[in-house]
């Protein structure tokens, strides 16, 4: 099986806006059909926004190749955001890291807001 690996910042940088997510997908597109599987490395310290990942993954999913992509990500923010995209878009996203032998499907992560209330009067200060 031929696997090709790309660090996300080699596809585009910085990785913070929806437009960049599309740009990363466009960079990757020529390689999508010439490799059986593709790894996208998200490791390292750099800003990586949910909008960016959402747009990148939305296009991979739309092209029908998302199941051939494995994201390389340690526990932490990158994995949390992938889990949010899996929840929001109802898609299967795969990841691996050096601690696990094969690749695993990411468990979708629901939103964290617990309560939404309509107030009669705007609060007068932020003391609660």
């Amino acid at each position: 099986m031929v696997t090709s690996s790309f660090h996300i910042t080699s596809l585009t940088a910085p990785t913070v806006t929806r437009a960049r997510g599309l740009a990363a997908y466009e960079q990757l597109r020529p390689h999508l059909y010439s490799h059986e599987s593709i790894e996208i490395d998200l490791s390292g310290e750099f800003p990586l926004s949910l909008s960016f990942l959402d747009e990148f993954i939305r296009h991979l999913s739309g092209a029908g190749v998302l199941n051939r992509v494995t994201f390389v990500a340690k526990e932490g923010e990158a994995l949390r955001k992938l889990a949010r995209v899996a929840e929001i878009r109802h898609v299967d996203i795969w990841y691996r890291n050096s601690d696990i032998p094969g690749r695993r499907r990411i468990d979708p992560l629901p939103p964290t807001l617990t309560e939404s209330v309509l107030l009669e009067e705007k609060p007068h200060d932020d003391v609660r």
């Binding site: 913070v16 806006t17 909008s51 959402d54 929001i88 939103p111 807001l113 309560e115 309509l118 007068h124």
Partner: protein, 269 residues
């Protein structure tokens, strides 16, 4: 008196807009939070565009006047050259802000540019905070303006308060607002008849956007604010949304102002 998100709408609602040269009396203001500064600026800009002019009673407190001069308040909101010249004598720089209420143009790459500037200021001040998280939030907020406001200009302000160990970023525009933006998508056209706060609250839900493919900008901002135990305060039209303590509160502002004005606040360790 501090001018903040909590009182700026009530404060400006007392200004008599029927008079020519309406008076905004800042004499008792001793402190401006970034949201209040941006909201006041958008109020002036909105009414200037309708042909209204204002007289401003300057703050008595020296620090407040210095602050307005430092952030270029008088230049940004088209005050008389004499006012600008006189107040600029008070201008000095600090390393804990942009030293400006930045007017940002809706251009390609603006989100990355502002986000990069914020990261530099936080790093230069060695703020013990998740710098990348704040940079991402700033990028999302600026990109939101660029994608949805339908205006070419927005205004933003950043302030790091070393004593409180708090970072606050605010951005505002005089655009179509959240309700107008969402209602342009047929799926959410019903919002045109709903209160502004209802549309604003819905905008934090995943994929709710004027764009058919959906968006996640405000979803991420809310996630990040809650993960960092920060606060978000937003106004649009006469509606507001506050996110704090894993809770979303919404309701009505005392004033109806076009566009979106938003502030995020994070505490450093």
């Amino acid at each position: 008196m501090n001018l903040t998100f909590w009182n700026i709408d009530r404060f400006l609602a007392t200004v008599n807009l029927d008079e020519s040269n309406s008076l905004i009396d800042l004499a008792d203001i001793t402190f401006f939070e970034p949201f209040a500064l941006v909201y006041l600026g958008m109020h002036l800009r909105h009414h200037n565009s309708l042909g209204r002019t204002f007289m401003i009673q300057l703050p008595r407190a020296r620090d407040s006047r210095d602050y307005l001069a430092r952030v270029n308040f008088w230049e940004r909101f088209n005050f008389h050259p004499d006012v600008i010249r006189r107040e600029n004598l008070r201008r000095f720089h600090s390393t804990t802000s942009f030293n400006d209420i930045l007017d940002i143009e809706n251009t390609e790459g603006v989100a990355e540019e502002i986000s990069g500037s914020v990261r530099e200021i936080l790093r230069a001040n060695a703020v013990r905070i998740a710098t990348d998280t704040i940079a991402e939030v700033v990028a999302e907020l600026v990109d939101n303006f660029a994608q949805h406001s339908q205006r070419s200009l927005a205004t933003c302000a950043l302030q790091y308060y070393p004593r409180d160990r708090r970072v606050v970023f605010a951005i505002g525009d005089c655009g179509v607002g959240i309700r107008g933006s969402l209602a342009s998508n047929r799926q959410y056209a019903y919002l045109a008849e709903k209160p502004h706060h209802e549309a604003a609250s819905l905008a934090f839900e995943p994929l709710v956007s004027r764009k058919p493919e959906g968006g996640t900008g405000l979803t991420e901002v809310a996630d990040a604010v809650m993960a960092a135990q920060g606060q978000l305060r937003l106004s649009t039209g006469d509606g507001y949304v506050i996110i704090r303590n894993r809770r979303k509160e919404r309701g009505q502002m005392a004033l109806d102002l076009s566009g979106v004005q938003i502030e995020v606040s994070f505490s450093a360790r």
